[in-house]
């Protein structure tokens, strides 16, 4: 899940990045035209040199006045504009205060040096103010008498007639000019030199100045971001797609962890899932404990296990554990609970048998022959289940719940594969409709153990033992059918155990299971189901207890298990390997491990 979440988030992030890239070139793209305005202030507005060329070329200046008042726009040399404005109060645009605002500097009257006469400036201010605020008509007349005098020499009498606000229209100073009522627009291509703009509301109205420049807008972030985002999306998509594909195909890597192995115990503990049959079987199993304790089985396993074990060892420790577990499980029926659990497991399987049989067998097969299990696990399992699985299962299950976990180990080799099969409908799971729950449980159990098993198996540690034991239990579920498996694994040897256990099924299954038992399996299974408990009770349990301890201690439960039944061999094996015989303690450890697993 976390992987999926991560990949998904990467994909989302990629989309976001793409979005950012696109947005940078669209929504966030800088305007093609830079437009800045200056609010209405003085009736005379000028611009500082350079402002006209501020944002590009050419500049479009628009001046508007309220009420359709006449307005004049003109461009002249900086010096000319300053000279014309003279000492009058005016607003000077000095630049941009923001992307859309012009910085305006209010210049009070009289400040300019060009004022013709000192006395003129005050008059100019007085005239300018009324003109700016009041209506031209009212203020113009009184001011008219005042204004002209200051700024204009006596020689030019014409200017004296001007309104409160002097009219720059058609002055020889201007290089460009635009006039209008209520608004005027002027386009000024940049030229060498220092040019200024002047806008005058000749009627006394304060013009609102708007300057716009064309901008060369680049979108440097568009493609880099889009490409980066696309890559992210593609990567995420590929990962997710692969994940999905694996899910469907079943090739997905098993995620055993989530399954929560604890279920093993739960299986036994949970009353709900248990069917009546299961319950009965459980009881039988309990009652049968003593019987199970009885060794007879042991013998059978011994024969079977040995062969199984050996190959297991050869291949992998885990495998060995599995096999051992299966056998040991059968041998060690120490805990009644375990037995019940195991029994419970199997029962379900039985119910499902027709379908479930397929699934379980697989496990069984794996358990028995680890080597084969991994590869041929699925097919063999079914067969095995159908055929002789039952006996083995019975053996495994009843014996030790603890072992059940170990079974997981056994499975570990096989389980990994087995589980997937469970999860994945296509394989065995489909068939084992009812089983799935159980299987899955088993699988999960197995899963964890396997992890441990591989590592542990090599080590003689108790924990490993438990794991090994678990596998056997894990098998147990399978085992229900597996009993056959016990035989199956050892196809050759299986018959032996089966026979020992007195199961015709076992005998038959063993061989047929490998090949074509299926036809007969259902009936056989049923028989097994019924028989198992009994069988378990009689054969496996009893002998198991005693030998199990010994066997369990062994690194590989497999060895122990078989050893339990055929103590001499196991001991011999241990001696050969310089391993000390293990006490019953391991089971306790196993329990611990199981609990862990459960957790």
């Amino acid at each position: 899940m976390p992987q999926r979440v991560i990949t998904a988030s990467v994909g989302v992030a990629g989309l976001v990045v793409i979005g950012l890239g696109v947005a940078s070139a669209t929504v966030w793209k800088a305007d093609d035209v830079l437009v800045a305005t200056a609010p209405a202030g003085s009736s005379i507005v000028t611009t500082a040199p350079g402002v006209l060329e501020l944002g590009g070329d050419p500049v479009t200046v628009r001046a508007t006045t309220a009420g359709g008042a006449p307005v004049v726009l003109a461009v002249g040399r900086e010096n000319d504009v300053e000279g014309w404005v003279g000492s009058d109060a005016h607003d000077e645009v000095t630049g941009l205060s923001g992307w859309h605002d012009l910085a305006v500097d209010a210049v009070a009257a009289g400040s300019p040096t060009t004022a013709p006469s000192a006395g003129a400036s005050p008059d100019a201010t007085s005239s300018a103010k009324p003109s700016a605020s009041a209506k031209p008509s009212a203020s113009a007349k009184p001011s008219a008498s005042v204004t002209p005098s200051p700024s204009q020499s006596a020689a030019t009498g014409a200017a004296a007639d001007a309104a409160a606000v002097p009219d720059p229209t058609d002055s020889d100073l201007w290089v460009a000019q635009a006039t209008g009522k209520g608004g005027a627009q002027l386009v000024w291509p940049a030229q060498d030199g220092r040019w200024s703009l002047i806008a005058v509301g000749t009627g006394g109205a304060a013009p609102v100045l708007e300057m716009s420049w064309p901008r060369v807008v680049t979108t440097p972030w568009l493609w880099p971001l889009v490409i980066l985002g696309s890559l992210m999306v593609i990567v995420a998509g590929v990962l997710l797609g692969r994940d999905l594909y694996r899910r469907r195909t079943g090739t997905q890597d098993p995620e055993w962890h989530d399954v929560t192995t604890g279920t093993i115990a739960l299986v036994g503990e949970n009353g709900a899932p248990l069917t009546r049959r299961q319950l009965r079987e459980a009881e039988l199993a309990r009652s049968g404990r003593p019987r199970t304790g009885s060794v007879p089985r042991v013998q059978a396993p011994t024969s079977a296990p040995t062969p199984a074990v050996e190959p297991a060892r050869e291949h992998t420790a885990a495998g060995a554990a599995d096999t051992g577990a299966a056998t040991t499980g059968a041998a060690t029926t120490s805990a009644a609970d375990r037995a019940s659990q195991v029994a419970a497991g199997p029962p379900r399987a039985r119910d499902d048998r027709p379908g479930a049989g397929a699934g379980s067998p697989a496990t069984a097969s794996t358990a028995t022959s680890p080597a084969t299990a991994p590869t041929a696990a699925i097919p063999t399992t079914r067969r095995a289940l159908r055929t002789g699985a039952i006996p083995t299962v019975a053996a495994g299950t009843p014996t030790r719940p603890d072992d059940a976990r170990p079974t997981a180990v056994g499975p570990g080799g096989g389980p990994g594969q087995g589980l997937p099969s469970d999860q994945q409908p296509p394989t065995s799971a489909r068939r084992t409709v009812s089983a799935p729950g159980w299987l899955s449980g088993a699988g999960r159990r197995r899963v964890e153990p396997p992890a441990q098993a591989p590592t542990d198996p090599g080590a003689p540690d108790p924990s490993s033992a438990p794991t090994a034991a678990n596998p056997s239990t894990g098998w147990t579920p399978v085992p229900s059918r597996t009993p056959g498996t016990a035989g199956a694994p050892g196809t050759p040897g299986a018959p032996g155990p089966a026979s020992t256990q007195g199961r015709t099924n076992a005998g038959t299954p063993g061989t047929p299971g490998a090949t074509g038992a299926p036809g007969g399996t259902p009936s056989a299974d049923a028989a097994r189901g019924t028989h198992r408990p009994a069988w378990l009770a009689t054969g496996a349990p009893t002998p198991a207890p005693t030998p199990a301890p010994e066997a369990a201690p062994g690194d590989e439960a497999a060895t122990g298990a078989p050893a339990g039944q055929a103590g001499s061999r196991a001991d011999a094996w241990r001696r050969a390997w310089g391993l000390p015989a293990q006490p019953d303690d391991p089971p306790a450890d196993q329990d611990g491990s199981t609990t862990e697993v459960d957790r």
């Binding site: 900086e78 941009l96 204009q152 030019t156 030199g193």
Partner: protein, 332 residues
């Protein structure tokens, strides 16, 4: 909960900063450096526009012989000159039409200045009647007034204008008291006035190249003196009116100086019973009389354009253009 708002604001600030860093800076004005030398006061376009406007005004005023119509583009002394011509034209029923003033520039001498008043000289194309080209003096007294025709002068025959800078560049303005010339512009005008007044007797007589206008003036004077001889006296005096209106440097370091002279031609009758008949309708119109019993005074406004060579030059000053228009006549 406490941390979240902090984290939110923090991240917001970071985002804001990042985005802000990405945003380009607001452009700032980058004006061209202020010119070391003042640029030409007028662009060629502006000059031609002024001339065009002047032509329009003159045409309108000439058509009606209305001095008032000249106001937008003509100022003193040209206004008086033109007004007198209108009177003359009116008095003579158009026989003596006002001076033709072409407004098409053959050359323009533009001042390099950032101050007012500003004066530019325009050498016009030769008029259609093959008269001498005119030099128009256009002056802008202050920033809010227009360029107006201050005066005009008639280019003297066989004179060539000294080379001046291109109008786009502009010609330097020479101060009236400049000492970079053989004679300061102010003195040059004064001296020429003295020469005109005193003739050969003037101490500055040899400071000026001989020119046609001066010869004409002296010829006219001697004629008048002869006419009055025995019954009265005839005096002519030329007085400069203030400083020269403009002095623009030429390429060779000299200057073109434009000045205004007021000429008084006074005929005084000393013989009893003698009278001076005022036959000229123009004079009649100006003086309001047909005879002068004691004296008759003509006042003319003269516009003189001098070339003053640079200091150290061996050249003499020369008169480039001269125009005299009788603007008043008084008979008593």
């Amino acid at each position: 909960m406490r941390r979240r708002p902090v984290a939110m604001t923090g991240s917001a600030v970071v985002v804001a900063l990042v985005l802000g860093a990405c945003a380009p800076a607001v452009p700032t004005p980058e004006p061209a450096p202020a010119p070391v030398v003042a640029p030409a006061a007028l662009t060629p376009g502006q000059s031609s526009r002024v001339l065009e406007d002047l032509g329009t005004v003159l045409a309108a005023a000439d058509k009606k012989l209305d001095e008032d119509l000249l106001d937008p583009r003509v100022e003193e002394p040209a206004l008086s000159m033109r007004g007198a011509e209108y009177v003359r034209a009116d008095a003579t029923d158009g026989d003596r039409a006002p001076t033709t003033l072409p407004t098409t520039a053959a050359a323009t001498i533009v001042p390099r200045t950032q101050d007012w008043p500003r004066t530019q000289l325009v050498v016009t194309e030769q008029p259609a009647d093959l008269q001498a080209p005119r030099i128009l003096v256009l002056r802008q007294d202050d920033p809010r007034s227009q360029y107006k025709l201050w005066g005009w002068s008639r280019l003297l025959p066989s004179t060539s204008m000294p080379r001046t800078a291109k109008p786009e560049v502009g010609s330097p303005v020479v101060a009236p008291d400049s000492d970079e010339l053989t004679v300061s512009p102010q003195d040059a005008i004064d001296q020429y006035a003295d020469v005109l007044t005193k003739g050969k007797k003037s101490s500055h007589d040899d400071a000026f190249e001989p020119n046609a206008s001066r010869d004409e003036i002296e010829a006219l004077r001697s004629r008048n003196e002869k006419a009055v001889k025995g019954s009265g006296t005839y005096d002519e005096s030329y007085t400069p009116e203030g400083d020269p209106v403009v002095s623009l440097g030429t390429i060779d370091g000299g200057a073109i100086v434009v000045g205004q002279l007021t000429a008084l031609a006074k005929t005084t009758l000393t013989l009893d019973g003698a009278t001076v008949p005022i036959s000229d309708k123009f004079y009649q119109a100006l003086s309001g009389k047909k005879t002068a019993k004691k004296s008759f005074v003509r006042t003319s406004t003269d516009i003189v354009v001098l070339y003053v060579p640079r200091k150290g030059s061996d050249e003499k000053m020369s008169v480039l253009a001269f125009e005299s228009v009788i603007t008043a006549a008084k008979a008593s």
